[in-house]
Symmetry: C2
Subunit: 323 residues, 2 copies
């Protein structure tokens, strides 16, 4: 039987889902579990960050705590959810200092409070290495739930914020490039909860996910769930300012823009008919930009249009076990 | 600053709670986070199991999956909750086989289904060692919530099921003693969800927790939360049958009975006035026994009464980081 290294994360998850007996609701695989609850859905999502694979050498414990909370809140945002609370299960070596634990907890608390919610519980256990499993609970009115499925040919493809900043920041931290704004972007990811709620209320969104593993990976996911294609215009992609200016080859810059992970922006498809409603929505979202970057097509997966020529966009985002 | 090894798990958690800003609800430290939601409370609880500290060599992946779910469901049971769903965040080495992942998932699924709920989502990430963070969501009517606080002098102390079986089973697995019923008890913990619901509905319970770290540790917790003492009659403790028969010194047997962890039975205090209601409750709980083992006293922590003499019961349950 193959190892996870040979399977890769996505095939492993598909295999795992086949073993589970389906629950009432929308099934497994979207950003959150969706549990019917009267006129609302409860949303539940868990993410584990392991220091060895997720955090570069020298990451401060405050930032680790912030990440553990932000990543789960971002999953709520991707489904249009409002947070109710976050719990974090911490695995820590016994040599961990009390100061580390306090800074870690301050980071968790700061992120939760910055996005209108609380750390409501957790667990602390001994392990050989630091590992943080954050779980967020939220809710959304039934008629406002955003999912990965629902994009239709003719819809617009749009993205919040700017892309490539977190991946550039991580590279800067790892190689000591000193690119502070990009590093700050990596250090404190911003779950787009406010934006997710506004997108959900607009009734314009036909599908949505958060960009944790890069734009190309996100486009592939949306195409797969909705069984559509998408053509994205590279010139229209909202590039993170420091990435535009960074002294990189154009190939490197392009790789970070198209495939760099951990921006946690929302990638959405929007009904194209209502351009005045779309302008209103973009105004509401300010100061976060909402940029239309392409169109949904009948099929064939994601394409990127560059100097007027369309080419297939490979799914080159980060994948665990293959990494 | 001290390390977690010097602080111990409980002091570490107390320190961590002081850093967090309090959320609306009941505060942190009970078995679950309690979130007001109309006429109900939502209950959210997370527990992480690390293979190196939690599972002895040779534990089967099915059992690991079962444990990851059972432990969180047991926390719902301790508050009288009904489960809504479970998510599990898995950290796995890249050399993990596909067969291991499938068996792990089957164990998770089997435990959830055995207790009337589903695995509704999860996360799978790469790490150096196996770690499973299970999170259960549940609910309880507001008037039926069970908590650790509320025991009053004169209340009865009671426990579900039988004690010491899981700790004996773990010892049998570790030392190849071949005590199958005890091993089975360790391998597949039974969250007392049905019993928790019945206790909650009875209106007799004044405080409750689940015995994850042993009876002595549970008694200390209840005494601390309710600021009371408790006197437990050692002769009345419901000993796991195989523990009574095991060829152990009486000192070893007593240590497993009083301090052995992972039985996941419910320890409760009950209003003493209504003895007919208590008998009715005990009948409802069948085939799970409910045994009155002692009384709540004004103060002074837990005592154990043995051959007519009361002695202070040390808090000798398992504590992470000190282990």
């Amino acid at each position: 039987m193959p190892s996870l290294e040979q399977l890769g994360e996505r095939a492993a998850i598909r295999s795992l889902v086949r073993v589970l007996e389906p629950a009432p609701g929308l099934g497994i695989g979207d950003d959150c579990a969706v549990l019917p609850w009267g006129s609302r859905y409860l949303l539940l999502t868990t993410d584990v960050l392991n220091a060895q694979t997720h955090f570069p050498e020298g990451t401060r414990p405050f930032e680790m705590g912030w990440h553990a909370v932000a990543v789960s809140l971002s999953d709520l945002a991707a489904m249009g959810g409002e947070p109710l609370g976050v719990v974090v299960a911490e695995s820590l070596p016994r040599t961990t200092s009390h100061g580390f634990l306090r800074a870690l907890t301050r980071g968790m608390n700061a992120c939760a409070r910055a996005f209108g919610t609380h750390i409501v519980g957790g667990d602390t256990k001994e392990a050989a290495a630091v590992s943080l499993a954050g779980t967020a609970l939220g809710w959304v009115p039934r008629c406002e739930l955003l999912t990965r499925r629902g994009a239709r040919a003719g819809d617009l493809v749009a993205v919040t914020g700017r892309l490539g900043g977190a991946a550039l920041g991580l590279r800067s931290i790892q190689h000591g490039l000193g690119l502070r704004p990009a590093e700050a972007r990596w250090r404190r990811p911003t779950p787009r909860l406010r934006e997710g709620r506004m997108l959900a209320r607009s009734s314009l969104v036909t599908s949505c996910l958060d960009l944790s593993d890069g734009l190309s990976s996100g486009l592939h996911e949306l195409c797969r769930w909705s069984k559509v294609g998408m053509a994205v215009d590279e010139a229209r992609l909202p590039i993170f300012p420091a990435l535009r200016r960074a002294s990189l080859s154009s190939r490197e810059r392009r790789a970070l823009l198209l495939h760099g992970g951990q921006d946690y922006e929302l990638l959405v498809t929007l009904r194209s008919k209502a351009s005045s409603a779309l302008h209103r929505l973009a105004r509401q979202l300010r100061p976060t930009p909402l940029t239309v970057v392409g169109k949904v097509q009948v099929g064939g997966g994601p394409l990127v249009v560059r100097h007027g020529r369309a080419e297939a966009l490979p799914d080159a985002g980060y994948e665990h076990f293959r990494g």
